[in-house]
C-alpha cells in the first residue's frame, strides 16, 4: 500500500520546496509577484530587472540557500540581450534569474564579489555576446583569442563567419 502511495507522490510531485522558494522570493521582493514560475520539480525561474539583480541574487544565496552559481547563459533576444544566472541549492533545485541587458550600453554589475569563480562566466558573455559587465576585475579575456576584432560577437544572431576576415599572414 505504501509503495502505491509513493508511486502516486512520484507521479504528481508536491513541489513543496519549490513553492517555498517562490513564496519567499515574492515576499522579499514584491515586484517579483507573478514573475516566479515553477517549471517542474527542482526547476524555478524568476524574471528580475537588471537593477534588482544583485539584491535578488544575494538574497537567494544567503537567505534561500542557493550557494552555487552553475553558470551564466547569455542569449540574443534581437532588441536586447538576455542573461540567465543559474543558481543551485544543495537539495538540487535550480533557480534561474532571468534578466536583460542592452546591446549597447552598460550591463549588470559583476557578481564576482559573491561568486569569485564567476569571472570566466562573465568574460564569456562579454566576449561572445558583447554584454557590458560593469566592474569586471582585470584579467585575460575568455574564450576568444587576443587578436579577435573589436565589436564582433559570434553568438549574436546577426553574426556570420563572413564578417571575420582572416588576415593573410595568420592563415
Amino acid at each position: 500500500m505504501s509503495s502505491e502511495n509513493n508511486a502516486e507522490t512520484a507521479a504528481t510531485p508536491a513541489l513543496e520546496s519549490e513553492k517555498l522558494v517562490q513564496q519567499r522570493l515574492e515576499a522579499a521582493f514584491p515586484e517579483l509577484s507573478g514573475k516566479v514560475t515553477i517549471q517542474r520539480v527542482r526547476r524555478v525561474w524568476a524574471e528580475v530587472s537588471m537593477e534588482r539583480l544583485h539584491d535578488v541574487l544575494t538574497h537567494a544565496k544567503d537567505q534561500l540557500n542557493f550557494p552555487m552559481l552553475c553558470t551564466i547563459t547569455g542569449t540574443d533576444e534581437t532588441t536586447h540581450l538576455g542573461l540567465m544566472y543559474h543558481l543551485a541549492s544543495d537539495s538540487g533545485i535550480v533557480l534561474t534569474l532571468v534578466t536583460t541587458a542592452p546591446k549597447d550600453g552598460p550591463g549588470p554589475q559583476t557578481v564576482t564579489p559573491y561568486f569569485p569563480h564567476a569571472d570566466l562566466y562573465e568574460r564569456e558573455v562579454v566576449d561572445l555576446l558583447g554584454v557590458n559587465i560593469q566592474g569586471l576585475p582585470e584579467g585575460s579575456r575568455y574564450p576568444l583569442p587576443d587578436g579577435w576584432p573589436e565589436g564582433q560577437f559570434p553568438l549574436r544572431k546577426d553574426w556570420t563567419r563572413d564578417m571575420l576576415e582572416v588576415p593573410k599572414e595568420n592563415a
Binding site: C70, T71, M84, S91, G92, T96, H117, R141, P154, E165
Partner: protein, 412 residues
C-alpha cells in the same frame, strides 16, 4: 624576500607537462608558488554557435565530440534537455541502457585518470597497469555501442542499440575483473609509499574554498563536500539505484585519488543492479524532427563533476540556443587556489588531480583554410605537405636530413 625575488614563469599553452593547451603564469619565490594566473580558450571551437545552425539530431553528434573522454556525458545532458522540451517519455529500457553506458564511461575515465596521475608523479607502473585494465571496459564499450569513444549511443527519445543476453553476461564478467583490479588499487593506495608520500598534502583545497569557489565532482567530494548530481538532482534512473556518494576529508590529491577509486567500486555495484533490473520493452520513443518552443536545463554528473546544459527551442528543427558548461571551467579556479604555497614540482599532479579537460571547457573551432573557407577536410598527406611548406617558408628545411636518413637506412 622582496618582490624582486619573485620570478614569473609561463607554462603553456604548449608544454610537455600539459596534455591539452592552457596557459599558466606561475609566480615563484624559490621553488614555492605564490600565485597563478590562468589563460584558457585555446580549444575554443565555436560549437555553441554551430549548434544553432544544425538540426537537433546533428547537434547530438557534434556535442558528443566536445570531449573524447566524457562524450556520453555531453550527449546525455543535451538529449535530456531536448526530451524535456519536447515532452518525450524515454522508455525505461532506454533509460537503463543510457545509464549503463554512462557508468561504463565513468569506469574508463577514472581508470584513465589513475594512469595519468601515476605518470605525473613518475610512477609509470601504475599507468601501465591501469591503462591495461582500462582496455577491458574499452572493449566492452566498443562491443555495446560500436565505438571505443564518441559512442553515438544516444538518440532523441532513447538509445540506438539494444543489448543481447550474451552482452549482458559479458558486462557482468568484465565488471568482476574490473572490480578485482580496482580493489587492488584501493589496497595499493593505502600501502604503496610512492603514492602516499607523493600525494598527501599536495594541492590542498579546504572545504571552505570548495564552497566559496563552487567546486564540483570528485575534487569537491575529496574536501568533504558531498555534492553529486546523481543524488541531488537525479536524472535517468539514478533514483532507482542503490549507491553511496564517496567522499573524504583529506582535502588533497591523495583524497581525490581515494574518491575516484571508491567511486569505481560504487559504479560496479550500480552496473550489476542495472543488468539485474533491466526492464523489457522498446529502447527509444519516436521523436519529432521539429522541437516545440521552450527551454530546459539539464544537469549531469560527469566523471569530472557537474556538466550543465541549457537548450532553448523555437519550434523549428534547429535549436535557438545551446549552452554548455563543463566541470573543468568551475574547477580551474580552484587549481589557482591549490597551487598557492605549493612546490613548482607539484604543479603537474595538482593540475591533473582535477582531471582537467580543456576541450570540454573551451568547447566551441571550425576548420578554416588559408582563405577562410570552412569545412574542408585535409588528408594526412595534405597536412604533411602544409606542415613541410610552413617550416620551409620560415627557413627550416629537413629535406637534406631526410635524404641522409634514407641513405643511412639503405646501408643497414
Amino acid at each position: 624576500m622582496s618582490d624582486q625575488d619573485v620570478v614569473k614563469i609561463p607554462l603553456g599553452p604548449q608544454h610537455p607537462a600539459l596534455k591539452e593547451p592552457g596557459n599558466f603564469t606561475l609566480s615563484l619565490k624559490g621553488e614555492l608558488i605564490t600565485e597563478m594566473g590562468i589563460r584558457l580558450g585555446y580549444n575554443h571551437r565555436g560549437i555553441e554557435k554551430a549548434c544553432e545552425q544544425r538540426s537537433y539530431l546533428n547537434d547530438l553528434y557534434l556535442l558528443e565530440r566536445i570531449c573524447g573522454i566524457c562524450s556520453h556525458s555531453h550527449s546525455t545532458a543535451y538529449v535530456q534537455a531536448v526530451e524535456e522540451i519536447a515532452g518525450i517519455q524515454v522508455p525505461p529500457r532506454g533509460l537503463y541502457l543510457r545509464t549503463l553506458i554512462a557508468e561504463l564511461e565513468r569506469v574508463h575515465s577514472h581508470l584513465l585518470w589513475l594512469g595519468v596521475a601515476g605518470h605525473e608523479i613518475g610512477f609509470d607502473t601504475l599507468l601501465m597497469y591501469s591503462w591495461r585494465d582500462r582496455e577491458v571496459v574499452m572493449d566492452l564499450l566498443a562491443a555495446l555501442t560500436g565505438n571505443r569513444v564518441n559512442y553515438g549511443y544516444n538518440t532523441i527519445g532513447g538509445v540506438r542499440r539494444d543489448v543481447t543476453d550474451e552482452q549482458k553476461a559479458d558486462v557482468l564478467k568484465a565488471t568482476d575483473i574490473l572490480e578485482e583490479r580496482t580493489k587492488y588499487y584501493a589496497h595499493l593506495a593505502g600501502q604503496e609509499l610512492t603514492l602516499t608520500k607523493r600525494l598527501k598534502d599536495v594541492g590542498r583545497l579546504s572545504k571552505e574554498d570548495v564552497l566559496r569557489l563552487g567546486v564540483t565532482g570528485p575534487t569537491a567530494r575529496a574536501s568533504g563536500v558531498k555534492r553529486d548530481i546523481r543524488k541531488d538532482d537525479p536524472y535517468a534512473i539514478y533514483s532507482e539505484l542503490d549507491f553511496d556518494v564517496v567522499s573524504n576529508e583529506h582535502c588533497d590529491v591523495f583524497g581525490r585519488t581515494l574518491v575516484r577509486v571508491g567511486e569505481l567500486l560504487q559504479t560496479y555495484k550500480m552496473i550489476r543492479q542495472m543488468i539485474a533490473q533491466l526492464p523489457d520493452g522498446p529502447i527509444a520513443a519516436k521523436a519529432p524532427r521539429k522541437i516545440p518552443k521552450g527551454q530546459a536545463i539539464s544537469r549531469y554528473e560527469a566523471p569530472r563533476g557537474e556538466d550543465f546544459h541549457f537548450v532553448r527551442g523555437n519550434g523549428t528543427d534547429k535549436p535557438e540556443r545551446v549552452k554548455v558548461r563543463a566541470p573543468t571551467l568551475v574547477n580551474m579556479q580552484a587549481v589557482a587556489q591549490m597551487m598557492k604555497g605549493g612546490q613548482l614540482a607539484d604543479m603537474p599532479i595538482t593540475l591533473a588531480a582535477i582531471d582537467p579537460c580543456f576541450s570540454c571547457t573551451d568547447r566551441m573551432i571550425e576548420l578554416q583554410d588559408e582563405l577562410g573557407n570552412s569545412g574542408q577536410v585535409y588528408s594526412w598527406s595534405q597536412v604533411r605537405e602544409i606542415g613541410i611548406r610552413h617550416y620551409r617558408e620560415r627557413g627550416i628545411d629537413f629535406s637534406d636530413l631526410s635524404k641522409r636518413l634514407a641513405n643511412w637506412r639503405e646501408r643497414i
